[in-house]
Every structure is written in structure tokens, then in C-alpha cells.
Symmetry: C2
Subunit: 682 residues, 2 copies
């Protein structure tokens, strides 16, 4: 049951695909107060209530005890006190399933407001949930049978998730700093020489000519099409980055066209708004305008014609290093202090002045979108920019390459963008705590339909260590997007840079053995509007202990994972909500297993081991690999083992397709596989 409430004159965000009538009753689940053009919704939370959701945010699976602010932000330091990250996902569930007395029902709420929304989930008062939004918005309240049902209803409301090509389930390598053909050849060789499967290498900003979108530096890549094809023959896809800002440079066609056709965002005087990002001064394509969106999307064609089949859209909060206007003013102010005695106040002021130049709210107030005839200040629609940049690309792909899937994911996002692409979880750090953060983000991203996602494995900022990378891979191998990515200036972290290359190879090979299962579960989640990653409580609603577990996840129908995310740990505690088969793997071939009973366990997990827990009477397909498997296309789906344990037999619904076309297999044709207990591998 979804109820829709309209306040003021909402901006059409594109989040929702389902037409619903406006509910003529009052919101029953929360207290509403409208004051000074703001909406305030509040309710009490019982001690045992849990808040799930809010997509890409810091803190736990249970979001209680903090405030979250919907304000897409390029902030690479994801410490616990950050209220906003890159994506904005205003959907949460107040879960009351765990209450001793179930007087009130759980509900989901989606605040469809592209401006700033604050979710105070018990920060001010531990027991009080307060949501504050501007008066112009649409609010959806969803009640259902259980947590899964609430999510499923919400997912139907916002439409089916984007489908990535199957090769994008392979291992992928990235680094800000790869400059040229030879750099990339070295990376591919580093993997191939060590027998490490690899399906993609990413092109970060340096492949471009002076950071200009839709250009390739021909000195570094003299024959880009040839190189793309050479890499493809190695089983490797190249995935270039596309940034939001278009460089201001005379005779650069995209700049010239955009100016001529008025496709860029405007300042208050109607001039093209000038910000600075990687290329220096840029204009922002007005992707909220349907014509500009179509134009910008069309620009991907040139790269696709050279063999590119995947992209990542970056800097689309949009990030602003500085705006021309603000920098000018700051400099004037600095100059005015020239002859002053520089005391502590002026020093602090200088620091604030300089550090406040980037991603300034003032800048976001100072430019405008032409939303198909209506001028709207960016501030009001800030959180829609990344969504629409990605929509621009995806809509163009439908024309450029309608027959096949194109890999696409974004840094910034808003609910609804999941129909067009995935996300990665942005510029994290090489911190152990970020393994847990990324685990905890997965179910809340899945709740809003973002299924193709993962974190920068090994950590983007700061220096990784071998053990951190290995443990992170042991979690990241379960995320659809499994990408090792690092920043310029940090320690090189391709797996072959370390001492334990055979161990890394084994772990990555386990991923490839799991691809039939992970891909099947991903596709089923897409096509059934379900979650690929789930907190334990979603599957075991009657188990009060399950609600407490913050560091284990269900992955698909058959397995639970409990990765190690602390340094020097040789094991960890695991809670089993039912009897399960613990399978310990050192490689796809080197496995041992053991049935563990429901309850608490301390489990040894060596640094180079992957452990999964298989539900009883469930099983998973596990590919038998050739020694020289190089990419997903080498995984033979006709050579499957079935891992599991059963009283009599285990069952599994297997989804398979060609991994490329968009003719997805309808549910009635999915294969139910059954194996007797004797036929199961362990």
C-alpha cells in the first residue's frame, strides 16, 4: 500500500515511474507540521525500532543515532561525522518488527525533494525521528507485509534497475595515474603474467586531451580504436571516465556547440556559468534540460564507435573546485589584506577563504537550469544533476547501441538513477573501517534499486597495505562492481605489486567461480525488484538477534557472508540465524566445509581465505575454472558444481542469459535446478 502526499508545487524529479493518485487523508504514520515553507514530520521510536535505508551514507545498517542531510557532496573523507556523501536517496524504513509489542506497523517513507532534506534519526533525541524538507515535495508512505514487501513495493514505484553487461562482473583494475597505452599494457601484463583474471581497466582523467570530455590524448593513445580492440582481444574492456564540466576552450567543438545552442547552465545574468574543475574553467551542461541532455548524451557516441562499451560518470554532484566569481572576490580580499598586520583572525580568515572556495553552497545558489522552459536555481535541484548526467548517457546508449548493454555508473545519484546506471561509492580511503562502511552501504543502496555497485577496493585515498587489500577483496568479490581503484600519489595497489600474488590470484579466481551465482542473483534481483544484499533481519524477521547484526550480509538466495574487516584478525564472530554450511576456500579448488548450528560462533579466517555460509536446502552454482581463465567469457556455465547441503535435496533458481543483449529471460523461464544431497559439492 503506497500513499502519495503532495505538498506545494513539487519539481518533477523523475524518481518515480508509477502514476498514483494523491492520498486525500492525513499522513497517519508521522506527525506533520508545516511552518515557514518547511515540512516537519516526526514520530517516536521505540528502543527496539530500527531505521533502514538512506542509501549512500556513513554509519551502520541501522541508521539510528545521527542526522543525514540530502545534499550531494564531493567529500573524500568518509568519517562518521559526515552528514552527506555523493548520492541522495531519501528512502527509509522505520522497522518495528523487532518490538516486543507490535502496536504500530513498520513503514517506508520516500521524500521526493531534490533540495536539502534532513533526516534526524535520533541525533537530537535518541527516541525521536524528525524529517525536515522544503514545502514543495512529494512524500510516499509505504506499508507492507514485511520489510521485503515494503522494499518491493517501493522498487515497483521507482522502476526496474539498470542491467550491467556480464563482463562487468569480472575483476576490474583502475588507478588515477594510468597515463598511456604502455601504462595500461603493463597493468594487463601484470595480471596476465600472473594468471590473474581481469575484465576491465579504467581510464581516469589522464586519457583525455587536457581533461576535455570526449577527447583522447593522441600522444598517449596514437591509435585509440586499435588499442581498444587490442585490449578486447586480451579480454579487457577499457572504461573511460566522463566528467561533468566541459572545458572552456576555443574551437573545442563541444564547448562551441554548447555555447551556441545554450546547452550550458547560466548565471544570474544569463551568461554561461563558469566553474573550475580538472580542465580549469568549465561550463556545466544543463542536463536537466531535455535538449541539452540529448545533446550531451550523443557525445558518448564517438568513444563507442572506437570500441568503448563502458563509462563512469564523475564529478557530477557537480563538484566545483572554485567558481570564477568567487575566486576573483577571494583574491580581491586577500589583496586588500596586503598591508594589514596579519594577526590570528586574518590568518583564520585566509584559511577559511581559500578552503571555502570548493563546493561552496553560494556557488550552487548562483546558477540556473532551463528545465524545459522554466528557469530553476541549481540549489533547488542540486541533487538531480548526477542522475541526469547519467540519464543523458543511458538515453543516448538506447540510440547508439540499442541492442546491447553498456556499462555505466556514476558518482552522484538520486533515486530514479538506478534505472540508468549503477554507482560506485566514491573516493573512500585505505582504512579498515571503510570495508565495514561499504558493507553497510550495500543493502541501503539495494533498497533504492542501485544493484550494480561496489566500493574502491583497497581504498582510493591514502596508502593501502597488502592485508587491507586482501581482506577488502574478500568482501568486494561479492559486490557486482569489483574494482580495485586508487588515487594518484598513493601506493601502487594492483595485486601483483605485493608479495602474496598466488593468494591474490586464488581469491580473484574464486570470484570467477562465483560469477554464475552472483550474476544469477543480480539478474533475479533486477527483474523481481528485490535486494541482492540484505541485512539478516530481512530474511529472518522472527529472530531478534538477526536485527543486531551489522557486519554480515545475505547475498542472494543461498548464502550469507561475514567478512573480516579488522587488521591482524585471524578470525571473527559470526551469528548464524539457522544451521548453515560454512565453506572455507583458499582457491576455487581448495575448499573445506563444515555444518555449523544456529547461534554464535567464533570462526577462524586466515588472511588468504574466503568463507561463505550456505543456507540449508539451498545451493549455489560454482564454476569449475580452467587453469588459464582470463575473463568472464572464459567461465563455462556448463561446468558447474553445486555447493550446498540438504536434508534430502537442495533447490536453486538459476538465471542465465548471454550477458549482453537486453532480451532478459522472463521469470517463467528461469530454471529450477534440484540436486539430491548426494549430488551436492561442499
Amino acid at each position: 500500500m503506497i500513499r502519495k502526499y503532495i505538498f506545494g508545487e513539487p519539481i518533477e524529479t523523475g524518481a518515480v515511474v508509477m502514476e498514483l493518485p494523491e492520498c486525500d487523508q492525513e499522513i497517519a504514520v508521522m506527525d506533520l507540521e508545516v511552518k515557514e515553507e518547511m515540512i516537519r514530520l516526526s514520530c517516536r521510536m521505540d528502543e527496539d525500532d530500527i531505521v533502514y535505508g538512506l542509501g549512500e551514507q556513513v554509519r551502520g545498517i541501522n541508521k539510528r543515532g545521527f542526522s543525514y542531510v540530502s545534499d550531494a557532496t564531493d567529500d573524500p573523507v568518509h568519517t562518521e561525522n559526515k552528514h552527506s556523501l555523493y548520492g541522495v536517496h531519501n528512502f527509509m524504513i522505520l522497522c518495528r518488527e523487532n518490538r516486543a509489542e507490535k502496536k504500530e506497523k513498520s513503514f517506508g517513507i520516500f521524500v521526493d525533494d531534490p533540495g536539502k532534506v534532513v533526516f534526524d534519526v535520533g541525533e537530537t533525541h535518541l527516541d525521536e525521528l524528525v524529517i525536515t524538507a522544503e514545502e514543495n515535495c512529494v512524500i510516499y508512505v509505504i506499508e507492507g507485509e514485511n520489510l521485503k514487501d515494503i522494499v518491493k513495493q517501493f522498487r515497483k514505484l521507482i522502476g526496474q534497475s539498470y542491467v550491467a553487461p556480464k563482463w562487468a562482473f569480472g575483476y576490474q583494475q583502475s588507478r588515477w595515474g594510468y597515463q598511456s597505452e604502455s601504462d595500461i599494457r603493463k597493468v594487463v601484463e601484470g595480471h596476465r603474467e600472473n594468471g590473474i583474471p581481469l575484465d576491465a581497466v579504467y581510464l581516469d582523467i589522464d586519457y583525455m586531451e587536457r581533461f576535455k570530455d570526449f577527447t583522447v590524448d593522441t600522444e598517449k593513445f596514437p591509435d585509440f580504436e586499435g588499442f581498444t580492440s587490442e585490449m578486447k582481444s586480451e579480454g579487457v574492456h577499457l572504461v573511460p571516465i566522463i566528467d561533468a564540466g566541459v572545458k572552456i576552450e576555443k574551437d573545442y567543438p563541444i564547448y562551441e556547440e554548447g555555447v551556441k545552442e545554450n546547452y550550458f547552465c547560466k548565471d544570474e545574468n544569463g551568461k554561461d556559468f563558469v566553474a573550475a574543475v580538472w580542465p580549469g574553467k568549465v561550463h556545466f551542461p544543463d542536463v536537466l534540460n531535455s535538449k541539452a541532455r540529448e545533446w550531451f548524451g550523443g557525445k558518448y557516441r564517438w568513444l563507442m564507435e572506437q570500441g568503448i562499451e563502458g563509462f563512469w560518470n564523475d564529478m557530477n554532484e557537480p563538484a566545483i573546485f572554485y567558481s570564477e566569481e568567487r575566486l576573483k572576490k577571494a583574491f580581491e580580499e586577500l589583496l586588500s589584506m596586503k598591508d594589514e598586520n596579519l594577526d590570528l583572525n586574518s590568518f583564520s580568515h585566509i584559511k577559511d577563504l581559500v578552503m571555502g572556495l570548493s563546493n561552496s553552497p553560494e556557488d550552487y545558489k548562483s546558477f540556473y537550469h532551463n528545465m524545459d522552459g522554466k528557469w530553476i536555481c541549481h540549489e533547488k535541484v542540486h541533487n538531480l544533476y548526477g542522475f541526469n548526467m547519467t540519464r543523458a548517457a543511458a538515453e543516448a546508449f538506447e540510440k547508439i547501441a540499442p541492442e546491447k548493454r553498456t556499462l555505466l555508473f556514476s558518482r552522484s545519484s538520486y533515486i530514479g538513477m538506478h534505472r540508468y546506471g549503477g554507482i560506485w561509492t566514491g573516493d573512500n580511503n585505505s582504512w579498515w573501517s571503510q570495508i565495514l562502511t561499504s558493507m553497510q552501504q550495500m543493502p541501503s543502496l539495494n533498497m533504492v534499486g542501485i544493484l550494480y555497485t561496489g566500493s574502491d577496493i583497497g581504498g582510493f585515498g591514502s596508502d593501502t597495505t597488502e592485508d587491507l587489500l586482501m581482506r577488502w577483496l574478500e568482501f568486494g568479490m561479492f559486490t557486482p562492481l569489483m574494482r580495485n581503484h586508487a588515487a594518484l600519489g598513493t601506493r601502487e595497489q594492483e595485486v601483483y605489486q605485493f608479495d602474496r600474488i598466488p593468494e591474490f590470484r586464488n581469491i580473484i579466481r574464486i570470484r570467477y567461480s562465483l560469477v554464475p551465482y552472483l550474476y544469477s542473483e543480480y539478474m533475479k534481483a533486477v527483474l523481481s525488484d528485490e535486494m541482492y544484499f540484505r541485512p539478516l533481519s530481512f530474511d529472518y524477521p522472527e529472530d531478534s538477534q538477526a536485527y543486531r547484526v551489522e557486519d554480515q550480509l545475505l547475498v542472494g538466495d543461498s548464502i550469507m557472508i561475514a567478512p573480516v574487516y579488522t587488521q591482524n584478525a585471524k578470525g571473527r564472530y559470526v551469528y548464524l540465524p539457522e544451521e548453515m554450511l560454512m565453506v572455507r576456500m583458499k582457491s576455487p579448488e581448495d575448499r573445506t566445509s563444515q555444518v555449523l548450528g544456529k547461534g554464535h560462533h567464533y570462526v577462524d579466517v586466515a588472511l588468504d581465505e574466503v568463507v561463505i555460509f550456505v543456507k540449508k536446502n539451498h545451493m549455489l552454482p560454482f564454476a569449475v575454472l580452467d587453469e588459464n581463465v582470463k575473463s568472464v567469457s572464459d567461465v563455462d556455465e556448463n561446468r558447474l558444481e553445486w555447493i550446498g547441503f540438504a536434508d534430502e535435496y537442495a533447490e536453486y533458481v538459476l538465471y542465465t542469459d548471454d550477458g549482453i543483449s537486453k532480451e532478459y529471460i522472463p521469470q517463467e523461464e528461469w530454471k529450477l535446478v534440484r540436486r539430491s544431497k548426494e549430488e551436492l559439492s561442499r
Copy 2:
């Protein structure tokens, strides 16, 4: 067995109090390489080896998997990637007790070098320990019976720890932002009205006149002596902050004297070095010079004469906001860019220029100490500054108030400073992860003799939440320094600002009931050169699981703690290395208990509960409190319960004294208390 190795011409640091002959053999425990005036010590680490120590650093009790750099740094963001914090403690133990085959012995190593030392504890290669230092240093290698013995030998080498007055075991409240008498009266009233015990309120920088050391702003405190006395009659001690930098201000006597007597650090031209900190431009007292140290220490007298009995020394890395010279140069550079087209490079350069002004290594190279006749560049002795500032105070106290203890702790430190004062662990943040970090720092600080210590409870930077503060108190109540402290601009976090005042009161009252035990254990650790906080492995060396435990600590002889440090947790896993009595407390009076067997347990711990685990046949004194207990002096040591469990009887060695005088009770007079199992409380 301690072996001493001398390299080059070491600077006398004052770390060590014991005269030892130089060892004429080679270092046996590590491979030595001397090259380009650097010493490189290295050895292999087995998979099961553990590295303990390094004092105040980030990461776990086991320091493996990261590099630690000895370089006292004012850095308030204690994320995992930080290589240096405020204090420098170059002592570590390579523990091999946990090896399957004990071919090699554990050893401790102390690198007595006041400059930069790098401990690469398996960052570059997981299995390799590499220590790099300058050639002029003294290295001590310590072998012993076991971990405790190695620590004890080291502690004898560096001398007996500072003893805090007993009132400093009470609850203490601080905030950067308390301005005046009336602010502080409000804080005291807030506690007293709610029946919350309180022994001290801190005066952060605003009590001073324009941030000048050893001044009091007479507008805010018109009768400081009278106010100090008024507070003392309320059972509250005022503890003012003292900063390292002395304001440059004409007619300010301390500035004038320091200039006249050449007591300040000099620049390369022999002029008093100018840096800027809170007061704006300052000179740094040359506390490495014995005369300047005596002079600066003597300045504490004026405050002590007005009734002050405790101090905290801050900003003594020393922190530098900027130096006069560098700021001038930076401004010149900024001005030179005036007419340039400001591109991305110049923008980045401006950012680096401004942000690089603070705590610049270049500044530390540009001033000098007169170490009793010898001029030494600050860079070479950087890590000794905080130590010697605190030594200045402590040596002065011996003259000013020789008969009694004065509370003293510092932000920066070096090994040896523990003889003069404690430390607090600096400007942390209101992050859940910092509870764990502070737990993990405690044993490594205890190893180097720093026993009077604790973290800023509730978190200094960023906004706390009620649950974070409560859980943090449930750990902080076991640290000798139990202080709630927060930064200007953050949420007010005195416990009475929240909804659960009775629960906070109960938790703080439990601390007061524990004071007889905690104080007794602290004094015994001081007088026996032992650790008050210990990892489990120190007491249970035969238990291989004990080596894995990173989030539980032994506190004194009788108890183990396992605080909850994750948000929304309603319990946690606890490992018991032997059968113990779990005592669960909602208040000193509201206790339940249960015997738990050796092994793994999941233990419920409600938000407002304190749980301790008592060793078998051990017990602890627990004070029966009056309803209106206000301060430590109200805790009646003649009204003790004895909590514990025993087969037949339990024993405890109780240390008591007046808590004020320096006539500590010698070990032979400590009381052995015995209670039969029937006499024990639970």
C-alpha cells in the same frame, strides 16, 4: 636483561634514569645496517608474532600492518592513515610468545632518539619489521621472562611514574568555550542539581587575558582566588590550561623577562623566533635549557598561590599556526599571482600554500635551542619539547608545593615525561571508532609509564550524541583521567544536556564506587612499575585466543572490561580467558551477576549498563556511596563492599593513602585483604 647500544653522538634526552654500561656485542635480535648517517634495524616477523607498544598511535593493540613515525604532531583528525600523533614513545615489544615453535625470544626495543624515527611494522612487507633512525641515538634491547617482565625492566630503566592526587580520579568536566565565572558556576550547578558527582572543571584558553600564559582575564574572573576557593568548597577543582607559546606583548612581564634573559628559542640570526598560536605572535620558551625551564616553571606559582592545584599543558608539540617568516613569504607569493590568469595549478598552489603554513617541517628546522651551552636545531629535538615543558612545571611544583601532589598532564610527550605528569590523548572526535582507539592506546601508554591518562570522553571535535557519550563514559570510567571535553562550536555535551540524566548520574556514581579499586590499582602500578591496563595476552600468555583480543582490557589485578563501542549495539561478543563473574550494573546499588565459563560469549549490554568481569578468587573493593556523594573526598573507604567470587576465599592487595601527600605507602605495608566466599558481594 637490558643491553645498551650507543650510535654516534646522541643527544641526552632525559628518557632514562638508570646508568647502564654500553654493550660491546652486536645487536643480536635484529639486523643492523648503518648507511648515510641512518640506522636501519630489521627482522622477520612470523605470522603469529605481535608487536605491542609505540604509545600514543592509531590502529590496534597489535601494531602490525602500518608505519608509525615519531614526530610529535598537532593533528586533530585521528583516522587510520595518520602516522604521528602528539606524543612520541619509541618503545615496542616484538612478542613471539604465541608462536607454535618458540625458536626465538620476544624482546623489547627502545630507540632513544628525539628526532624522527620510523617503525615500519609490516607496512611495506607484512612479515618484516624495519626501524629507521638517525645515527645519533641510543638503543636499548630488553629481553625478559615474559611480556610483563620486559615491560617492568623497561619501566625501571625510565623511572617511576608520576602520581596524580586522588581527587583527579573523580569525574571532570571541560569545554573549550567556558568563558567566565558564571559559565563555570552553571556547569557545577548542572551537576550538583542533578546529583552528579564532579571533582574538577577545566579552564580552556578563554580564562586568560588575550591568551597570555599565567594571566587571568579579570573581567571574566574579577576575584579569581575567591572563585577558586568558592569552587573548592563545592568540591570542585579548577584546572587551567597552559600553552607553550608566550605572547609577544610589550609590558607583559613574562614576555619581557624572557626576551631580556634570552629564555626563548632563537632563529638562525639569533633573534627570538616568532611563531603564531592562539595569542597571535609568540615566542617559545626554550624549555630544553635548564635555566629557561626553571624560569618558565616558576611562573606556575602565581596561579597556585590563588588556589590552583592542577594544570594541563597544551600546544606543546609545539603547534605552530604559522611563523612570521613563512606567512610573509606566502603573502608575497600570493601577491605575485595577482595579475596572473588563475588556472587550476595556481589554485592548487594557493591551497597548498595556505594549508601548509601550519606545523610546517620547514619552521621546525628554522629555530634553535640552547641546550645548556650548545645550540641545537629544533628539528633534532622536536619530540622533547612537550616533555620539557611539563618537566618545567613538575620541577617547579617540587619547590612551590613540595608537600603535596599537583595534577599535571600534557598533550605532547616523549618517553621519560611520565615521571613528571600524565597525558590526555589529544583532540579526538565524536566518533564511535575513537572509543576503540582510546581503549587500544591505553596499554601501550601504560607500557611507557604513562598511567595517568584518558581520552576526551564524548569526543572533542564534531557533535556528540547521547548514546556515544554514554557508551564512552562506560569505558572512560576505568581510565584514571575521566574527563568529558569538547571543542568550541560543537554540541554541548555536559551530561545534563541530554534526556537520560538519571542514567548518566548512575554511571558516574559507579565510577565513584570504583575509585577505591581504581586508585589502589593505579598506585600499585606506579610503585611496582607495572601496567594498570593490560591486553589479555599479558596475563594469559598460554592462551592463544587471548592474543587475538583487541577490544577488551584487564584493569588492575581483579577485573576485565569489554566495553560496547558500536552505535545501536545492544550487546557484544566477549572472550573469557578463564571463568569469571560478570557483574552488570545500572547503578552502584542495582547490580546483578552471573558466573560465565572460559570461552566465547555474546553478552547483552543495555545502553545504560556497565559490565565488569571479575577473575575467580579475586575481588575488588566497591564503595557504598551516600546518596549525595559530590566528590572523591565523599567516598568513605571504611564502607566497602567486596565484589568477587571464589572457591573458598578471595584475596586483594589494597593500597590506600591520603591521596594528597607524596609519602607513598611502601609495598610491605600494603594490606592483604581476604574474604571468604560467603563474605563476598556480587
